[in-house]
Symmetry: C2
Subunit: 410 residues, 2 copies
């Protein structure tokens, strides 16, 4: 189908769907929100293989299904079982990111006496920019008797941590990002299913709203505090900064991680009820940016450089405490998602930010940053870290390679 | 902005976003899924007022945030507090469905010493076809001393019910549907927030994937069993059938419900792990339809008429048991959503179908249908009803009217 045909179908479909079409701007007497940034078309495919894994600097898709798994296989077969599974996962993951079913034959396989090899719920859906990003936890290296890179040490406890072990850790992780939640859910489900007998789900998290943007081609989206999130993020286009702060170098200690990166995941519950009772002044002051435009306090443009010399940015403002200049040059690539996991049974939303960040060394980057925030950030009064995990995400795959090969065949 | 401008921005943005664009069909050697149906543009606005409430026969949007609330106000002020809240909710709901903030001034209100009147996370997002549909539970009528219509009686227990009271019931409900989850979540959060002191959240549910389609302009989507769901649903275009099965008539008993409808919500957990081990033959046989095309067993076209005389459709097939002809002509309008609420802590996905259905009288429509399914449906081996609620959704609002006015000023 040509691009032109695709476009026409969208418009015809919309008109036929019986909903009113209005120009952006003033609608029904109200000032409507400005137009959202255009999403890539549903047919978009992100290449699975490459120098780095997809899903890290890929412009953040809008939906997330993240799963952490434990390896249940034990004893002498452990390594072999893990290798066999990672090979099968790689084949299925590559197929699904191309918009295909998990296995040939798939949902309506030729042998109807057997269970279908694909669960079917994405059968009519295109790839929707699906990426599947794979990581290994320190606990798996321990089980395999492989020494951990220093960067993969467990995180220290931080002040005010409220971590739930059931939402933390994991031997393996898969991050599925796509512009359609059903596509992300389908991918995780089929990989989980292939793992039965070797792995079991430890915890999983759905998210939406792609805080933070990871590319200068994207608009900045808002977190559930209503603030633009990702303005001063590392961006895909700044390759020098990515080499410095995100991609592990061959000289970093673990040869199998060269070209890879480390993922820190933190499930951060946000007490939105309390936040919503806070004045705009307080909200802006503790963030260090204005709510409307996202500009630094005192500026009007979202992307105006942050002047940390300005007294308008409070000493304990989030963007001061987390800034490279307060932290001796440390930066990270954030790639978080908003979440709402229903309600907490006490009348509050169970909502927050599923913080995902990629970096070269969590010990030297995340640890000082989160230590500063946990100690001084006034935002901590409104949030609670309820889950935590660190994974090593090796480099991207060349032709024929499988997930984890650099580790398991080192 | 003109339609043309909108279209061009989408395409430019997509090309700039660095993702590969491929025609639908064959991609990278795989047969990619067929193109998804076009979504309405993000700017689409569904009118808030009308003969019926929006969000019932509106072509099902892709995302859901559903909330059930209890009224916490008590004593002599109860009725007055509810009326005051429903008036404020109506104003805010109408604004938000038009793409505006919950209140003028909103997220960056003029008085920065006060909390913002809108929580801000939808500030740059367009309306995304948001609908807000309002319902009243029988328990609220009891509290108000208003007799319940017969149609709003509590549901009887059904065989194999596994209902969790914390996921059931509620004095009020709000169903938010939109093509962007952040828009649906924002709307519910701001209404919940306005309710503090009068109402508290009892339970809430997020969903995606719009099983079932409610309009002939929509493609049929798939549930998490991988089957097309909604093929033989009542559709918005069949107004005679809607008058017969969905809209309450003035002569139905409760004058305040004329033009309204009753909503049955059932949270149905699906044991996808067990299902995924079942043969295709068994899956198709117990459904009564094929998995690939969704056609009735023995036919090839999804919309081929169902021939219940055919021995290919098993005696206990879901579509036979739930059919109008097995149930003396009873039909309902289904409008459910898929859900994944993370995992259950035992290695399974906590996933399923959040079944929503609108009908003229649950006692005469849902009760016989679910009784038949609970007793005979082989699908019951793979599912579990974990939540249940019934709400009366009054007719749509004329100019100046507020949610619940026909009830509270009767
Ligand atoms: C719910 C929790 C959090 C919220 C609501 C939040 C919100 C924000 C906001 C609104 C900004 C300004 C816009 C931007 O540049 O992206 C920001 C910046 C930033 N945040 Fe957070 N954040 C949270 C947690 C964290 C955590 C846990 C870390 C790391 C430990 C972190 C690190 C950063 C960094 C590095 C910046 C950029 C600072 C700069 O301008 O250089 N944030 N955050
Ligand atoms: C750190 C602890 C907590 C904070 C900061 C907090 C904050 C809030 C805030 C600001 C509201 C809105 C209140 C209003 O507008 O009237 C609220 C509502 C509510 N909270 Fe909490 N809360 C906390 C703990 C709890 C606990 C432990 C429970 C019950 C076990 C609870 C139950 C409720 C209920 C039922 C509502 C909504 C209904 C109402 O306003 O009466 N909260 N909470
Ligand atoms: C997880 C639970 C359920 C699943 C997976 C499911 C799935 C399906 C599927 C695949 C169809 C065939 C396609 C279609 O016409 O939509 C169908 C039809 C139908 N279902 Fe369900 N269903 C479930 C629960 C229910 C419940 C609880 C009810 C009502 C009590 C119900 C009522 C119907 C009706 C009325 C039809 C149309 C039958 C006809 O052809 O006339 N379903 N369902
Ligand atoms: C009605 C009850 C249950 C059914 C029908 C059921 C079904 C299943 C199925 C079919 C699988 C895939 C098994 C495989 O491929 O090897 C599975 C996996 C699993 N189930 Fe269940 N299950 C049930 C109850 C439970 C309970 C009560 C627990 C633990 C408290 C549990 C823990 C697990 C775990 C950890 C896995 C994944 C790991 C593995 O395969 O070893 N299940 N379940």
């Amino acid at each position: 189908m040509s691009l032109r045909g695709f476009t026409r179908r969208r418009l015809l479909g919309a008109a036929g769907a019986g909903t009113a079409l209005v120009g952006a701007g003033v609608a029904g007497g109200y000032l409507a929100g400005s137009a959202a940034e255009p999403d890539p078309p549903a047919q978009a495919i992100v290449p699975f293989r490459g120098v780095h894994q997809a899903g890290i600097i890929t412009p953040a898709q809008d939906r997330l299904h993240f799963v952490a798994l434990d390896v249940t296989a034990t004893g002498p077969i452990l390594r072999q079982a893990v290798v066999a599974l990672l090979k099968r996962w790689t084949t299925a993951a590559e197929r699904m990111t191309a918009g295909a079913e998990a296995a040939p034959g798939g949902a309506v396989n030729r042998n109807p006496a057997a269970p279908p090899t694909d669960t079917g719920e994405a059968l009519d859906l295109p790839a929707a920019s699906l990426t599947l990003t794979f990581g290994v936890g320190g606990s798996l290296l321990d089980k395999l008797g492989i020494p951990r890179p220093a960067a993969l040490a467990d995180l220290p406890p931080f002040q005010r941590d409220q971590l739930d072990p059931a939402l933390s850790g994991g031997d393996l992780c898969i991050q599925a990002c796509a512009d359609d939640p059903q596509v992300a859910v389908h991918a995780v489900r089929n990989l989980v299913r292939m793992g039965f007998g070797t792995t079991a789900v430890r915890w999983s998290q759905l998210g939406f709203g792609r805080t933070s943007s990871t590319s200068t081609t994207q608009q900045t989206h808002r977190n559930l505090f209503g603030f633009k999130d990702g303005t001063n993020n590392l961006k895909a286009e700044d390759t020098a900064a990515l080499d410095e702060h995100v991609w592990a170098a061959p000289t970093d200690g673990a040869a199998w991680m060269a070209g890879g990166t480390y993922l820190v995941a933190r499930r951060i519950r946000m007490h939105v009820e309390t936040w919503d009772r806070t004045s705009l002044t307080e909200q802006e002051s503790l963030t260090g940016r204005t709510k409307g435009t996202g500009a630094p306090m005192g500026a009007t443009d979202e992307f105006a450089p942050v002047d940390l010399g300005s007294p308008l940015i409070a000493d304990d403002a989030h963007i001061r405490l987390a800034s490279a200049s307060s932290l001796g040059g440390v930066r990270i690539l954030r790639r978080g998602y908003n979440f709402v996991d229903g309600s907490d049974g006490a009348g509050h939303l169970d909502a927050g930010l599923f913080f995902l960040a990629f970096m070269r060394d969590p010990q030297r980057q995340f640890v000082p940053m989160q230590s500063a925030l946990a100690r001084h950030d006034r935002m901590m009064e409104y949030i609670e870290h309820t889950g935590s995990a660190v994974f090593a995400c090796p480099a991207g795959l060349g032709d024929g390679a499988y997930w984890g090969q650099s580790l398991l065949e080192a």
